[in-house]
Amino acid sequence: MIANYGYKDGSGDFFITIDTDKCDGCGACVPACPGRVFVVGEDPNDPLREEPVAMVSEEQRKKLKYTCAPCKPDHDRPPLPCVVACPPGAIGHSW
């Protein structure tokens, strides 16, 4: 499943995408993110899945533009720590 967490408002699209077929719930993204965006647990959108999965925490979903800003400078943007930390490459950003 391609899970899009985030929002679209007047200033743009701010979605973090997690491919739950790739995610094995290892949890490497949780400490890697300085903004504490990720949590790992039971998939709320797939109640019959047994394996845990990563998702964006409830409290971060509506402020990703601001929480993620420190990792996204205008120039010379380094690779995003969450994307680098994910072994199966399940995490993506829309902006």
Binding site: M1, A3, N4, Y7, K8, P44, N45, P47
Partner: protein
Amino acid sequence: MSEKKEYWRWKEYRWHDESLDWHDAEIISAGVDIGSVSSQAVVMLDGRLYAYSNQRTGYDSPESARKAIDWAMEGTGLTLDRIHYTVGTGYGRVNVPFADKAITEIACHARGGNFMYGPTVRTILDMGGQDCKAIRCDERGKVEAFLMNDKCAAGTGRGMEVFADLLSIPIEKVGELSLSVEEEPEPVSSTCVIFAKSEASALLREGWPKNKVLAAYCAAMAHRVVTLLERIEVKKDFAITGGIAKNSGVVKRLEQELGLESLKSRYDPQIAGAVGAALFAQVLETKRRKG
């Protein structure tokens, strides 16, 4: 002071299938969808739709849940203690005291959409009271991709209610009236409900007739959700759930912009979430009995 008419107010109602008898059912399951604006309860007998209700959510979610299920069961003789498994969904899903489990509305809409529109449905757009969800699912109603926007009221039922009130047009008539324009106007430029409303007021001052203003707003709403849908890749067949599915002005414009017709169901599009919840309840009760 004269009493102000509530043009936004839509009809609340209930239904049950008189050809079915709940005494014959092995598993009685229920789904309760407590949305931000409306609440629905659905009762199923061995996976067959038996009864439902649809009403406005009050300020107290547990009470809204209780009222919704009681109203669905009204006149059937069925009581809450005879329901084997109940799943709560929607914003107030954790506030359904009699629910055995809470499941997100994303999963429930996919499952319910599959039941209501058939296994060919791949893309479901739920235009709810205060949010908008785009869901892609497989032939069994399992979610393949989803996106939800609940930070912005553009493209939501509440936004349409605001417009019905502004123009003194009963909410059920908005769609039809917006389609009565001879020529399609430019959509309003703001999709934000607050700014769209002030933009509409300005157009009215310029002398625009009501139907033209509504057409401009319905078009803006349709365009707005199409940009959301693009992110999850729209696939055939396509269906719309939620209250806005009853607004032909938005539905027709959406279909035109997507180049796709939306499937219609003989059931109320607002109950999709509760239907999905009741179907999950059926599966979970079966699992529970097997141990």
